[in-house]
């Protein structure tokens, strides 16, 4: 490339050669004037200053970017810890309120009847943990190979499985440690699946409490299971389910209702037939 050759050949500014030739013609003795010397010193000074400036600037900026990242990370970690501490405290307080209201209600006959109804309502609303026999369904992504999106479990797979479980007569369902209630959304956010607005990790374990035999029969015959079986063959997804004698589902986070109110003229306790 002639352009690059030119650059390399003219690496030394031709002005130096010109100036030297001029000097040789006018002033053969080569006497240097002091004013010129200070010019050179000034030039070197400016160039060095520029270099140090750039070095200092880069040095000063690199750690500040790292620092702000670290600060953000610390903040996130601290707030997450705060949230889980509050959640723990909420659970403890809920238990205590439950105990207190139970013991209070037990003192009268009408109260104990009310307590029984309250327990049933709690159970179906998912605000208490539940235990019993049922089915356990395990779904997982295909073993990593190529990394295409085709071999991953999607939110709609979990949705259809949960629907099939409800249809098969499940009484309480949880995905991993998230209870599925009337307020639960199962949805994809990027590469992770959110249940109750909390990300859940694979393998996805769906726990459903209900009549094990009846559920196994009806769920096993559902179209959701047929589809999952196809996916296992085509895409290599992992899918299996088994009956279990004793399963536990945690209680729901209990999102507060801010707009929904009971219909007037009907007592809250009798909202259920």
């Amino acid at each position: 490339m002639s352009l690059l050759d030119d650059i390399a050949k003219q690496a030394l500014d031709p002005a130096y050669a010109d100036a030297a030739a001029r000097r040789a013609a006018t002033d053969p003795a080569g006497v240097r004037r002091p004013a010129r010397r200070s010019l050179a010193i000034g030039g070197v000074l400016a160039a060095t200053l520029l270099l140090v400036l750039a070095a200092v600037q880069t040095h000063r900026h690199a750690p500040s970017a790292e620092r702000s990242r670290q600060t953000l990370l610390d903040q996130v970690r601290r707030e997450t810890d705060g949230v889980s501490a509050l959640e723990r405290r909420l659970n403890v307080l809920r238990d205590r309120t439950q105990d207190l209201s139970d013991s209070l209600l037990q003192t009268t006959k009408a109260g104990s009847a009310l307590a029984k109804r309250l327990d049933a309502a709690d159970l179906s609303a998912g605000t208490v943990a539940a235990t019993g026999p049922g089915l356990q369904v395990v779904v997982d992504d295909a073993p990593a190979q190529g990394g295409s999106g085709n071999n991953q479990v999607l939110d709609r797979d979990l949705q259809s499985l949960v629907n099939a479980l409800w249809a098969a007569g499940a009484e309480a369902i949880a995905i991993d440690d998230q209870r599925v209630t009337a307020q639960t959304a199962i949805r994809q956010a990027g590469s992770s699946i959110l249940v109750n607005f909390e990300p859940i990790a694979r393998p996805y374990v769906i726990t459903a409490i209900g009549d094990p035999v009846g559920m196994a029969t009806s769920f096993g015959a559902s179209s959701a299971v047929a589809r999952m079986r196809t996916y296992t063959q085509v895409y290599g997804l992992q899918f299996r389910f088994a009956r279990a004698d004793s399963l536990t589902v945690p209680r729901a986070p209990g999102l507060p209702l801010r707009y929904a109110k009971p219909v007037v003229g009907r007592r809250t306790g009798e909202a259920r037939q």
């Binding site: 690496a11 030394l12 500014d13 100036a19 070197v44 000074l45 400016a46 200053l49 520029l50 270099l51």
Partner: protein
Amino acid sequence: MIVALAVALGVTLGLVLQPTVPLDLQPYLPIAVVAALDALFGGVRAWLERIFDEKVFVVSFVSNVLVAGLIVFVGDKLGVGGELSTGIVVVLGIRIFSNAAAIRRHLFRA
């Protein structure tokens, strides 16, 4: 000797004062440094070849830095700032390399 003093003074001043480059000029700092390095290497080579000239050195230094900054500035306005800085770094890099090679030949005769 005096040049070495000037270098020492420049380093000391830079480290002690730690002047801050205005935010608007910061994108041009790396390019200005490369241009300054080119002028420095050219000066050293000219000195070794006994044709060093103070005026040429200062003028080439100042104009190198200004022109390099200006090209990047114009490039930024046109949306090709990155490409133009690459071009400047390539051109000045080649010059720095060949000047450094000439300096090496003068110093070590190899």
